[in-house]
């Protein structure tokens, strides 16, 4: 196991924690998820192709583990702790109260989405992956990514007090 692989993995942790936080809704579960994903990645390092994107590979591992955990713990539901979940500072970094409310609403709206839509929206809107990259991470057709993204936004925008979408 190369030190460089480990260093690269550590360098990815902040983004993996953000992705995991958007999936789980709270930082403790997100950190559990990231740690599990890192352990799994280290165990399966040989499966990583040098030269390919480690972030995409790790996003996939995080997402897969989360789906597995989510299925096991479905009865618990997703818990969103506004103080713990979105920002460790409880949103104080957001200067205006309305900004904080918006952040809290965004967290709640994400948590309310079906898991498949939440994953796609997180990768595109938060992690900044292209549709094609998202499709590769999730091993989905491009059209499925777009349709899940569209449905996610249809549900999300009203929760944020925005338009539901164009009336065609």
């Amino acid at each position: 196991m190369s030190d460089q692989f480990k260093k690269d993995l550590v360098g990815l942790v902040p983004r993996l924690r953000r992705f995991a936080l958007s999936l789980t809704g709270n930082q403790a579960d997100a950190d559990d998820l990231v740690q599990s994903a890192c352990v799994k990645a280290l165990k399966h390092e040989a499966q990583f192709r040098p030269g390919s994107r480690m972030d995409s590979w790790m996003y996939r591992i995080v997402q897969t583990l989360w789906i597995d955990d989510h299925r096991r713990a479905k009865s618990r539901g997703t818990q969103v702790d506004a103080e713990d979940a979105g920002l460790s500072d409880g949103g104080r970094a957001a200067r205006l109260p309305e900004d904080r409310m918006m952040l809290a609403r965004a967290q709640e709206a994400m948590a309310a989405l079906p898991e498949k839509q939440r994953t796609v929206l997180s990768l595109v809107a938060i992690e900044g992956l292209s549709y094609k990259e998202t499709a590769q991470v999730l091993n989905l057709p491009l059209g499925t990514v777009m349709s899940r993204l569209s449905r996610a936004r249809e549900a999300l925008l009203p929760q944020l007090g925005m338009t539901k979408g164009p009336m065609q």
Binding site: L21, Q35, S36, I126, L157, T163, K164
Partner: protein, 249 residues
């Protein structure tokens, strides 16, 4: 509110997400100038993306948590990784009150009840100067340690309780086909293993489990933990502080 628009919303979304070529994006910009309904939708999508990015950006402002960093940097070779897990099959408690509170379909193991001397974790007070005492006192959660005897040990979590702290740990002894889980609590006399759970390693679903940074819930132990007034697992910073304070609240 629904805004009348002209253009297909997926195309507008693709514009917001940077999926269009420069030429296509320029066409959209020109289109938006004459179609306020579409412009409102685009503005909302951009605002939603920004809100989502901000709502979950805390990890980018924070250092990598020590348990995660250590789990990565101190990990052993891939073929020797022990995937710790927590799903106990048997339980032995140190005290009657504790035993009564642990609602498990217990399969009591005679050697556990006797506190077999060769075991790393045994019920009762932890001897000063022992490996276990050192680990309980100084080892961060989530950091795997391989002992001289080949056993793999990890502290799973630190829980604050009314009178101090308890720490959950797991020991994997591949040679003896054993997987032990214990809870040790600290008081003025030091550490005491209050609860111990065990199962054959060969029965464990190792592929399915990984150690947790914050301590996954062991539902069957919940009554015991509640009796102790246990709070949520400490994060890395709080755990380090408790360690520095000598586990005294």
């Amino acid at each position: 509110m629904t805004v009348p628009t002209v253009m297909d919303k997926d195309r507008l979304a693709a514009f917001v997400d940077g999926e269009l070529s420069p030429e296509e994006a320029a066409e959209i910009v020109i289109h938006l100038a004459d179609h306020p309904g579409d412009q409102v939708y685009v503005d909302d999508l951009m605002a939603a993306n920004e809100a989502l990015a901000q709502a979950f950006d805390a990890p980018l402002q924070e250092p990598v948590p020590d348990p995660i960093r250590e789990a990565i940097m101190k990990s052993p070779q891939a073929d020797t990784i022990v995937p710790f897990r927590r799903r106990p099959l048997a339980v032995v408690s140190a005290g009657l009150a504790l035993a009564a509170s642990v609602a498990l379909a217990a399969v009591l193991l005679p050697e556990l009840q006797r506190g077999s001397p060769e075991r790393i974790v045994a019920l009762g007070p932890v001897p000063q100067g022992s490996q276990l005492n050192d680990m309980l006192g100084t080892l961060s959660s989530g950091v795997p340690v391989t002992l001289d005897g080949g056993e793999d040990v990890m502290i799973l979590a630190t829980l604050p309780v009314e009178n101090g702290f308890c720490r959950e740990l797991e020991v994997v002894d591949a040679a003896k086909d054993r997987l032990d889980f214990g809870i040790a609590c600290h008081d003025s006399d030091g550490w005491t293993v209050e609860v111990m759970l065990s199962e054959p390693l060969s029965n464990a679903d190792l592929e399915d489990g990984f150690v947790t940074a914050s301590g996954a819930e062991v539902q069957s132990l919940q009554p015991f933990l509640e009796r102790l007034g246990a709070g949520p697992a400490l994060d890395a910073e709080a755990e380090a502080e408790a360690m520095a304070q000598g586990w005294v609240r």
